[in-house]
Amino acid sequence: MTTRTSLLHHRGQRRWIFWPLLALLAALPPLLTAIGLEFYVGVASRVLIFAIAASSLNLILGFGGLVSFGHAAFVGLGAYTVGILMDAGVASAFVAWPAAMLVSGLAAALIGAVSLRTRGVYFIMITLAFAQMFYYLMVSLKAYGGEDGLPLPARSALAGFDLKDDANFYWVALALFAAVMLGLQRLVNSPFGWLLQGAKENETRIGATGGRVFALQWQAFVLAGAIAGLAGALLANLNGLVTPHLMHWSQSGQLMVMVIIGGAGALWGGTLGAAVLLLLEELLSGYTLHWQMALGLVLLAVVLFAPRGLAGLWRRARHG
């Protein structure tokens, strides 16, 4: 029997790439420490966290065709959940991190229920408006630091696993990143994921065949929000500070840029985009304050020459 193929199926990376790469990433902290660059363990954690956030946006933007311009709100709500719980004396990661996902997921459920009734430019504007609402809400809440933000006295407690240690924190972020990516791969290739991709291509037809487009898109929106909340919980721990800026529209824009550079609708698009953008920022900001200009040029080049993102280039190179 010949192998069945489908243009809806996203194979991800072959095993001989995925597992060695994961092993290499796991070995990163001791390697960096050995060459005296342990500072970069924190940078690597940051890349992983943004890879989670961008991948969650990619689920709705890339696979669902829903251009949400307010995704940073869910990252920020997750971060604030961890900060506020810690402020109230709840430091356990087993409580705070799922709570962050729950809060962000609930917010996404409400925002999605309203904004998914619109399309196109209206959807972009309404998601942006909701995110800015949360931004100004946190600016106005003086009890939690207002504009200055809320400092975290410590990192979350993870049952005997000391997250104060940067290498330990990195490994936890890596494990969660791997779990999110495997889960998303599974989801995108399930009947749910196929119908989501089908609705992106032709919403009317999915509806006319009996599919419930709103339910599909709403569930994807809620899941993406919850995963972004997890990224926010990790980010609060990494930064040791939660500020309204996490929810600012420019942060939503940055997540969108990551997805577009990496490849919207490609399984590893969000990860590639987050890695390229943050590493480029790290590299260029050492030379010039105007690193964002160089970043703009990179974005322009991707849009002009690789409309399907870096993941699209990679595919083209392999398949000719």
Binding site: S6, L7, L195, E201, T204, A208, G210
Partner: protein, 256 residues
């Protein structure tokens, strides 16, 4: 009414401002028949189709299907009941393969929530059903081609296949022959005749009068949002008001 009506449309109304696009339209489609809905341009056929399929809600009147009142239900619920439509403008998944198209349609039709975890590529039941549909619409050789690259007539055949995936009891075909050459029309007529032989009830909206008179068991004529006549092709041909409605339309006059 000797035979049982599968679809019964009674006193439907749809207004757009002062214009009544559908104005007290009533007709019935019997189980197992091919029923054609004809009418001059601007008669309100498309609006009526939208109201029957549930894409548009009616201002007044009722739609009953298989004894069930569907008047207030949305399109997805009507599809689950077995009332399925195809589109005048081809509505397929252009970026995916022909087989992908049919598998998607089969999966969309299933009641309940789709799985988040099972691999869709290993969905043997969906693939078996899709392969069956592929053979039925005569696109077996095109299974792996990207749907957007098919010829116009083939895309129309796929369109019918996607509607069939929804397991209709009544298939509403909105101008299936639109934009087709004679050969492609011929193939579509053959496909519809085959569906008729399988016992499927068809409601056909079509401008191609040759096709209408070859396929239809009964015909309803819509003029200014109102059904002025329902009957066999011979009765419609002889009907004075139908003749008047089409007066001046030479092509149709010739067919009548």
């Amino acid at each position: 009414m000797a035979e049982q009506a599968l679809l019964s449309v009674q006193h439907l109304v749809k207004r757009f401002g002062a214009l009544a696009a559908t104005d007290d339209a009533s007709f019935e489609v019997r189980a197992g028949e091919v029923h054609a809905l004809i009418g001059p341009n601007g008669a309100g056929k498309t609006t009526l189709i939208h109201q029957i399929s549930g894409a548009m809600l009616s201002d007044a009147g009722t739609v009953h299907f298989g004894g069930q009142d569907l008047t207030r239900l949305g399109m997805a619920q009507r599809v689950q009941a077995g009332l399925v439509r195809s589109y005048q403008i081809t509505s397929i998944f252009k970026r995916f393969s022909v087989l992908d198209n049919l598998v998607l349609a089969v999966q969309a039709r299933r009641p309940g929530l789709p799985s988040w975890w099972r691999a869709a590529l290993r969905d043997e039941a969906a693939y078996a059903q899709a392969q069956g549909l592929l053979a039925r619409i005569g696109l077996g050789a095109q299974a792996d081609r990207v749907a957007g690259g098919l010829a116009h007539g083939e895309q129309r055949q796929l369109e019918v296949g996607l509607a069939l995936a929804a397991k209709p009891r009544l298939l509403l075909l909105d101008e299936p022959m639109a934009g087709m050459g004679p050969d492609e029309s011929e193939r579509m007529v053959a496909l519809l005749q085959q569906l008729k032989a399988e016992g499927l009830t068809l409601l056909l909206v079509e401008h191609d009068m040759d096709a209408v008179f070859r396929l239809a068991d009964r015909i309803s004529t819509l003029v200014f949002g109102r059904v002025i006549a329902s009957g066999t092709p011979d009765e419609i041909r002889a009907h004075p008001e139908v003749k008047k409605a089409y007066l001046g339309d030479e092509e149709t006059e010739a067919a009548l």
